[in-house]
C-alpha cells in the first residue's frame, strides 16, 4: 500500500491531464485498500498543527478529535457523553464543578503513562498562559481556578454562572509528562506536530507532503477501534481528490466540491452526507486601514457585490445568502435582517458620501490617491472556486471604481499575514461554528491581538457590551434577543461582507459502516467505524 501511495504522489508530480490520471488511478484501484483495514480520507487543506489548541482550521480539529479526549463530549443529538470523566457534581450556584476521572486510561506511547487529574490542571494552566497562541483560549476565561483533589478528582471554580457551563469541559486534555518543560504552547513546539493523546487513534507519522498516519489505540477506554489505521491525505486539487475517491484510492472525502455532488450521488458505491451547516464565507475588512474603518465604505463594498449571481455561478445555488454574522442554521440568526441587495449605484453614492471622489479612472481619496486595496487570499493550488470568487469580487469593485490588488499567498504565509501581523486590507475566508454559534472571539475588541480571531481589529463598544451581556446571560430568550440585536448591528456596520452559508458534503465508500459524522467535529465514535 505504501508503494501505491508513492506511485500516486509521483503521478501527481509528473503527469497531468485526465487520461494519465485515469491510468494511474486504475493502477491504484487494483489493490483493495479495505483489506488491510486502513481508511484513507482526503482533505483539501493541509493541517497546520495537530494539537487541539494552536491550529484554527477544521482539518486540524478533525485530526485532534481522533487523537484527544475531553472530560466530556457532546454528540450530534446534544447529549453529554462522558469521556475522560466518569461522573461529575456541581454546586447549587453552578460555579463549582467536581469531576471524577476514569481510572486505567493511558496516554499513547510505549511508556503507557497513566492519565490523571494533574494532566487536567496542567492543560488549563498551559492554555491560559498569556503566551500560548490559541484562538480557543476564550473558553478558558471562564475558569477561575482548577485543582487536583487527588489523582482522579479535579475541581473547577468558574468566574461566573452561565447557560452551558458543562460544555466548558469539552476541552481536550494534554499530557503533562510530555509537555512539562513548556510553560506555554505555540505552533513551533514539537508536540504540536507529534501529538500524544488518549483518543481512539494515536499519531504515527507525517511525511513531507503532510500525509498523516494514525494508528488504532487498542487500549482505548471506549473500546478498541475497528479500523487499524487512518491516513489523511491532503489534495491541493479537488478534481484529483474526487478521482482518487471514485477510483478507490480514497475511502472518504471530507469536503466534496459541489461540481462532483451529482456524480457521486448517482454512483451507488458511495454515500453522501451533509454536515457543517454552521459555517459561512465572507470578505473581511481590516479596520486598521483608515478607509476601511469607515462604515460607509464597507457598506459600499457590500452593495457592490452580486452575491446571488456568484452563488449561482460557483455553487449552483446550493447554499443561502446571509445577512449577518450567523449561519442560517443557527439559533441566533435574525430572520428579520434581510441581506443587502446588489446595487452598484448605491455603492457609488455611499463612496461619495464617505468623501471619496469619483474620477473617470476610478475613486480617489482626499489626497488624490486612487483607492486601492490589497486582497490577500489563501490559495491552495488549483482551488478554482476560491479563485473565481475573489476574481469576481475584484471585478465587481473595479466596476464601481475601486481597485483591488489580488495577493495569493500560500496558506501558512496567509495565516501569518492575517492572524499574526494583521497585514492586509481585505481577505476572503470561511468560519465554521459549533452549536453555540458564539461570535464573541470574532468581534469583541479584546480579542484583536496576534493569533486571535478578531483579526480585523473590529471595535464597536455597543457590540462589546452586547457580547458581554450575551455571555453572562442565564436566560435563553434574553440570550437570543441579544444575539438578534448583534446580528442587526453587525449587518448594518458591515465589518465583513457576509456572503453565504453552504452545505458541506462528505462522501464515503459504502464499504464502510457505522459511520457517524458530527456536524462540527466530523469524526464521531470513530472507534466504531469499520469496513464491511
Amino acid at each position: 500500500m505504501y508503494f501505491n501511495k508513492l506511485l500516486f504522489n509521483h503521478h501527481r508530480l509528473l503527469v497531468s491531464g485526465i487520461i494519465s490520471g485515469f491510468i494511474a488511478l486504475c493502477l491504484l484501484s487494483a489493490n483493495s485498500i479495505a483489506a488491510n483495514g486502513t481508511l484513507y480520507y482526503g482533505e483539501s487543506i493541509k493541517p497546520d498543527t495537530l494539537d487541539p489548541y494552536t491550529s484554527r482550521e477544521m482539518s486540524s480539529l478533525r485530526l485532534s478529535e481522533l487523537i484527544f479526549n475531553g472530560l466530556i463530549g457532546i454528540n450530534e443529538s446534544q447529549e453529554i457523553v462522558p469521556e475522560l470523566a466518569e461522573s461529575w457534581e456541581v454546586s447549587t450556584d453552578k460555579k463549582t464543578w467536581i469531576f471524577h476521572l476514569r481510572k486505567n486510561v493511558s496516554w499513547h506511547g510505549k511508556d503507557n503513562k497513566p492519565f490523571n487529574a494533574h494532566d487536567v490542571v496542567f492543560t488549563v494552566n498551559l492554555v491560559k498562559h498569556p503566551k500560548t497562541q490559541s484562538s480557543h483560549k476564550t473558553q478558558f476565561d471562564a475558569f477561575n481556578s482548577v485543582l487536583a483533589l487527588d489523582d482522579h478528582t479535579v475541581k473547577f471554580s468558574l468566574t461566573q454562572k452561565s447557560l452551558n457551563s458543562l460544555s466548558l469541559f469539552t476541552f481536550k486534555i494534554l499530557p503533562k509528562h510530555k509537555l512539562s518543560r513548556y510553560k506555554y504552547l505555540n505552533k513551533l513546539s514539537s508536540f504540536s506536530n507529534q501529538p500524544i493523546g488518549t483518543g481512539p487513534y494515536s499519531f504515527l507519522s507525517s511525511n513531507t507532503n503532510r500525509e498523516i498516519t494514525l494508528l488504532a489505540n487498542p487500549d482505548y477506554f471506549l473500546g478498541s477501534p475497528k479500523i487499524k489505521k487512518i491516513i489523511m491525505q491532503p489534495f491541493s486539487d479537488k478534481n484529483i481528490m474526487n478521482q482518487a475517491l471514485t477510483f478507490n484510492s480514497l475511502d472518504m472525502v471530507v469536503d466534496v466540491d459541489p461540481r462532483h455532488i451529482d456524480e457521486l450521488q448517482a454512483d451507488s458505491r458511495f454515500s453522501l452526507i451533509g454536515y457543517n451547516t454552521l459555517s459561512y464565507s465572507f470578505f473581511a475588512y481590516n479596520h486598521n486601514n483608515a478607509l476601511l474603518n469607515n462604515k460607509l465604505i464597507r457598506q459600499a463594498l457590500s452593495y457592490a457585490v452580486n452575491r446571488k449571481q456568484m452563488l449561482k455561478a460557483f455553487y449552483n445555488n446550493n447554499g443561502a445568502i446571509i445577512s449577518g454574522p450567523f449561519a442560517p442554521g443557527s439559533w441566533a440568526y435574525n430572520l428579520d435582517v434581510i441581506p443587502l441587495d446588489f446595487d452598484s449605484n448605491k455603492a457609488i453614492a455611499l463612496l461619495k458620501q464617505a468623501g471619496l471622489i469619483k474620477t473617470p479612472e476610478g475613486f480617489i481619496d482626499s489626497h488624490g490617491k486612487p483607492v486601492r486595496f490589497n486582497l490577500k487570499v489563501p490559495i491552495e493550488k488549483n482551488n478554482e472556486s476560491n479563485k473565481k470568487i475573489v476574481l469576481a469580487y475584484k471585478n465587481y469593485l473595479n466596476k464601481i471604481g475601486i481597485e483591488i490588488n489580488l495577493v495569493f499567498l500560500e496558506k501558512k504565509s496567509w495565516k501569518k499575514a492575517i492572524f499574526a501581523q494583521h497585514d492586509f486590507d481585505i481577505t476572503f475566508a470561511t468560519w465554521a461554528f459549533d452549536d453555540a454559534s458564539d461570535i464573541d472571539d470574532i468581534f469583541h475588541s479584546r480579542y484583536n491581538t496576534a493569533w486571535q480571531n478578531n483579526f480585523i481589529s473590529y471595535n464597536n463598544p455597543k457590540v462589546d457590551q452586547l457580547l458581554g451581556l450575551a455571555l453572562a446571560s442565564t436566560d435563553h430568550q434574553e440570550k437570543r434577543t441579544i444575539n438578534h440585536k448583534l446580528h442587526e448591528i453587525l449587518a448594518e456596520d458591515s465589518p465583513y461582507t457576509f456572503l453565504w452559508s453552504l452545505t458541506r458534503f462528505a462522501a464515503y465508500t459504502n464499504k464502510l459502516k457505522n459511520i457517524q459524522i458530527h456536524p462540527y467535529k466530523f469524526f464521531e465514535n470513530a472507534h466504531l467505524w469499520e469496513f464491511k
Binding site: L166, A436, N453
Partner: protein
C-alpha cells in the same frame, strides 16, 4: 396527501399544450414548476383575474396549485403546533422574574389544537389570574374558555360566556366567529359581522394584524365569500408575529398565530374545491377535475361523500395514464372512509407487493394509509425494504411517504433515515429543487432527532418560499438554544 410530482407535471404539460389567455397563470405555473407553490398561488390571488370566469383548463390549473398549497399548509400547521408547544413550554421553565404572561394565552391556543383541553384550561386560568391583562385580551381569554367548553361538548356554556362579555370590540366578535367557523357551526350575526369586518378593513383600511387577518380569512371562507377572503389574503403578512412582547430591553418574545397555517389550508381548500366543482362536468377536463376532487376529499377524510366518490373514481375514463393507475388504490381509500377498511388494506398491500420495481403505485398506497391515519405496519415494512433497496430517483416518493408515515407514528429515527434516503434519491445539489413536502418533513425529522442546525437550514430555505414557515423557524431556533450544549468554538473552514 401528496402525489408524484411527475404525475402533476404531466398534467400541467398536458394543460399547457392549449393556448393560454391569462398571463398571471403563466407566471404562476412557472413558479409552480420551480416548486414555489406559495408564490404560484400569490401571483394568481394578487392579480385581477376573475377565477370564476376562467375557462375550464385554467380553472383546473389554478385548482391544482391551490390544492398543493392546501395540503402543504396543513402539514405546516401540524409542525407549527408541535414546535411552538415545545418552545413555549421551554420558556415556561425559565425563571419567574421575566416570564411573559402571554405564554399562557398562546399555549392555550396550541393545547386546544392538540386537543389537550385540561392543559388548555389550566393555562387560560393562569392568564386570567393576572390583573394586568387589558380588556381585549381578557375577553379573548374568556372566549378561549368558551372554546374549551364547546370542545368538551358544553354548547350552552360557550354561548353564555360569549354573551356575557363586556366592552366588546370588533376583534372579540371576530374571535367568536372564528371559533364557530373552525367548529363548522353557524356564525352568530354572520351578516353584520362580515359587514363590520369589511367596513373596518376594506373601507377604513384599518391595520390588519395577523390575528385579525387570521380570523377574518377563516370567517369569509366559512361563508364561502371567497373574493372577500382573497382580499384579506392579499393584505396579510404571513411571517409576522401575532404579538411581540418586550419584557426587558434585551428580552423580546414573538408570539405567532398557531392556527394561521390551518386557516390558509381551509382557504386554499375551499378555493380549489370550488373551482373543481365548476368544471367537474366539463367534457374534456371533467374526469381530471373529479380525480382532484376525490383527492381533496380523501385528504379531508370526508366520510359523507366516500361511497359516492369510490364509485366515481372507478368510473373515470379520461385520465392521464399515471392517474389511471391509481384508480383502484384511490377508490379503496374512499371505501376505507366508508367503513370498508379490510378491503382497503388488502388493495394497498397488493399494490405495495406488486409494485416493487416502479414504486409509483405503492408510494400512493403508503400515502393513502398515512392520509386516512390507517395502521399499516406490514405494508409499510414491505415498502420500507423496497425504498431502502431502490437506488434510483423513482424511489424518492416511496422513501418520502414511508418516512412521513414513520414521522406521523413518532418513530423519528426511522423517519429521518427514510427521508434522508428520499433526499439522496432526489436533488442534493439544490435543496429547493426538491418537493417542499419532503423538505418540510425532513426538517421536522432533523428537529425531532435534535439535529437542529440541519433542520433550521432547511427551514431557512423553505421560509424564503413559504413565509408562514417563520413561526416554525422561530420556535425551532428557541428549542435549539434550550437544547444545545456546545462550548462556543469557531474555526477557519
Amino acid at each position: 396527501m401528496q402525489k408524484a410530482s411527475t404525475q402533476i407535471i404531466s398534467i400541467l404539460l398536458f394543460l399547457l399544450a392549449a393556448p393560454l389567455t391569462a398571463a398571471p397563470i403563466d407566471e404562476a405555473l412557472n413558479a409552480y414548476k420551480q416548486k414555489q407553490y406559495h408564490q404560484a398561488a400569490k401571483v394568481i390571488l394578487n392579480s385581477t383575474v376573475n377565477l370564476n370566469a376562467l375557462e375550464a383548463k385554467n380553472k383546473l390549473k389554478v385548482a391544482i396549485i391551490f390544492s398543493k398549497n392546501a395540503k402543504l399548509s396543513k402539514d405546516i400547521a401540524s409542525k407549527s403546533q408541535t414546535t411552538q408547544q415545545i418552545f413555549l413550554e421551554s420558556l415556561l421553565t425559565e425563571n419567574d422574574k421575566d416570564k411573559s404572561i402571554f405564554l399562557y394565552l398562546y399555549l392555550t391556543d396550541i393545547y386546544l389544537q392538540l386537543e389537550k383541553y385540561d392543559d388548555a384550561e389550566a393555562q387560560i386560568e393562569q392568564f386570567l389570574s393576572n390583573s394586568s391583562v387589558d380588556v381585549n385580551y381578557k375577553n379573548l381569554a374568556k372566549i378561549y374558555q368558551a372554546w374549551i367548553a364547546l370542545r368538551k361538548g358544553k354548547k350552552d356554556e360557550f354561548h353564555t360566556i360569549a354573551n356575557d362579555l363586556k366592552d366588546k370590540h370588533l376583534i372579540t366578535d371576530m374571535a367568536i366567529g372564528f371559533i364557530q367557523a373552525r367548529e363548522k357551526q353557524p356564525i352568530e350575526n354572520n351578516e353584520s359581522l362580515s359587514n363590520n369586518i369589511k367596513e373596518a378593513f376594506f373601507n377604513n383600511r384599518n391595520v390588519l394584524t395577523t390575528r385579525a387577518g387570521n380570523y377574518a380569512l377563516r370567517i369569509f371562507v366559512a361563508n364561502h365569500s371567497l373574493e372577500d377572503a382573497r382580499e384579506i389574503y392579499n393584505r396579510l403578512t404571513f411571517h409576522a408575529p401575532s404579538y411581540t412582547e418586550k419584557i426587558t430591553t434585551n428580552k423580546i418574545i414573538n408570539f405567532y398565530e398557531s392556527t394561521l397555517a390551518d386557516t390558509l389550508h381551509s382557504f386554499y381548500m375551499e378555493y380549489a374545491k370550488n373551482l373543481l366543482h365548476q368544471i367537474k362536468d366539463d367534457k374534456k377536463y371533467g374526469d381530471t377535475a373529479t380525480f382532484y376532487l376525490s383527492d381533496l376529499l380523501i385528504f379531508e377524510n370526508d366520510e359523507k361523500s366516500a361511497n359516492e366518490y369510490s364509485n366515481k373514481v372507478e368510473a373515470l375514463r379520461l385520465l392521464p395514464k399515471k392517474q389511471s393507475q391509481l384508480k383502484a388504490v384511490r377508490a379503496s381509500t374512499h371505501g376505507f372512509l366508508d367503513g370498508k377498511r379490510s378491503r382497503a388494506y388488502q388493495v394497498w398491500k397488493e399494490a405495495v407487493e406488486n409494485d416493487k420495481n416502479d414504486p409509483f403505485i405503492s408510494a400512493d398506497a403508503v400515502l393513502m394509509c398515512l392520509t386516512v391515519e390507517g395502521n399499516c405496519p406490514t405494508l409499510v415494512q414491505t415498502a420500507q425494504l423496497a425504498a431502502e433497496n431502490g437506488k434510483s430517483k423513482r424511489f424518492e416518493e416511496l422513501s418520502r411517504n414511508v418516512g412521513r408515515y414513520f414521522l406521523a407514528k413518532n418513530l423519528e429515527d426511522k423517519a429521518l433515515r427514510l427521508l434522508e434516503y428520499a433526499l439522496d434519491r432526489s436533488d442534493m445539489n439544490s435543496l429547493l429543487a426538491n418537493e417542499p413536502i419532503l423538505l418540510l418533513n425532513l426538517a421536522e425529522a432533523y428537529r425531532a432527532n435534535k439535529k437542529f442546525a440541519k433542520s433550521l437550514q432547511i427551514y431557512f430555505s423553505l421560509g424564503e418560499n413559504f413565509p408562514v414557515m417563520r413561526q416554525i423557524q422561530d420556535a425551532v431556533q428557541g428549542e435549539y438554544l434550550f437544547q444545545q450544549r456546545s462550548s462556543g468554538q469557531s474555526n477557519v473552514f
